[in-house]
């Protein structure tokens, strides 16, 4: 089950096991915590999608064959949007870089249509200031999600 730690200024941290159902639970916990910010439905949809893609990637790639990994998500509301940090101890990204997320090609026969490769495209499309670093055996992925409203309520 996800563990939630509240930080100052509506920031919070969620720690959860690197498994698909734990990602779902962590997203639910995150969305519940974000209700305090009174975001638009559109913003909430964008946030949940980008975080789902980034967290699923960790489970499916970084932690492949490693069932006991832990993922840490930190969310910081700022006046420029939601700053998100994800940390895991899994495999590094290929060639030490976050994938470019090229759009998948759909100009093909039905049987040739791609069934994957959409995740990084969606992240790159919807997130800003994306940065990936590998430090001391940990993956650190940061990005910012813009919000409709300029001012966020501060505690």
């Amino acid at each position: 089950m996800p563990q939630l730690q509240s930080l100052k200024n509506n920031s919070f941290r969620i720690t959860f096991p690197g498994k698909p159902l734990a990602v779902r639970a962590a997203l639910a916990r995150m969305m519940e915590q974000l209700t305090a910010l009174q975001l638009s439905d559109g913003d909430r949809g964008n946030i949940e999608l980008v975080l789902a893609e980034a967290m699923n990637n960790i489970v499916e790639h970084a932690y492949i064959g490693k069932p006991n990994g832990t993922v840490e998500l930190q969310i910081m509301p700022t006046n420029n949007g939601l700053v998100c940090h994800l940390r895991d101890e899994g495999q590094p990204m290929p060639e030490g870089k976050a994938p470019t997320g090229s759009p998948v090609l759909l100009d093909c026969e039905t049987e040739e249509l791609p069934e994957g490769g959409f995740g990084w495209f969606l992240i790159r499309d919807m997130a800003h200031d994306l940065n990936y670093t590998r430090i001391s055996g940990k993956n650190l992925l940061s990005f910012r999600i813009s919000l409709d409203q300029a001012e966020l309520p501060q505690n």
Partner: protein, 114 residues
């Protein structure tokens, strides 16, 4: 997995009775949708109106299920909510599927193909 199948006119309506099609359920969803449409009529309308959230794994499962249909079968989509529609639009998968605003619209002859 909750898929409800309803014959309508010459088609089969498959209603997804879940709020999420995500990475945790994607493979099972694909398998169940295949089972639900096997030996079915040529036209299959997938009702997504109960689905609030679809991620790229869910999108991949819908595409995979379409590819697993018999050659004479066609999968159409109906009732996409805002979040679901966005994933299809951003990935341009909305150009691959015939998409109806509602299931009823799918049978009105006013297909909103995009």
């Amino acid at each position: 997995m909750q898929l409800e199948t309803t014959p309508r006119d010459d088609a089969l309506v498959v209603t997804v009775m879940m709020e999420r099609i995500d990475a945790a359920i994607a493979i099972q969803f694909k398998d169940d949708l295949r089972a639900a449409t096997e030996n079915g009529p040529p036209r299959v309308v997938l009702d997504l109106s109960h689905v609030d959230f679809l991620d790229s794994s869910g999108l991949g499962a819908v595409v995979a299920a379409m590819k697993l249909l018999a050659p004479e079968q066609k999968l159409e989509l109906a009732g996409l909510g805002t979040n679901v529609e966005k994933v299809f639009r951003l990935t341009r998968m909305d150009s691959v599927f015939t998409i109806h605003s509602t299931v009823d619209a799918a049978f009105d002859g006013i297909a909103q193909a995009s």
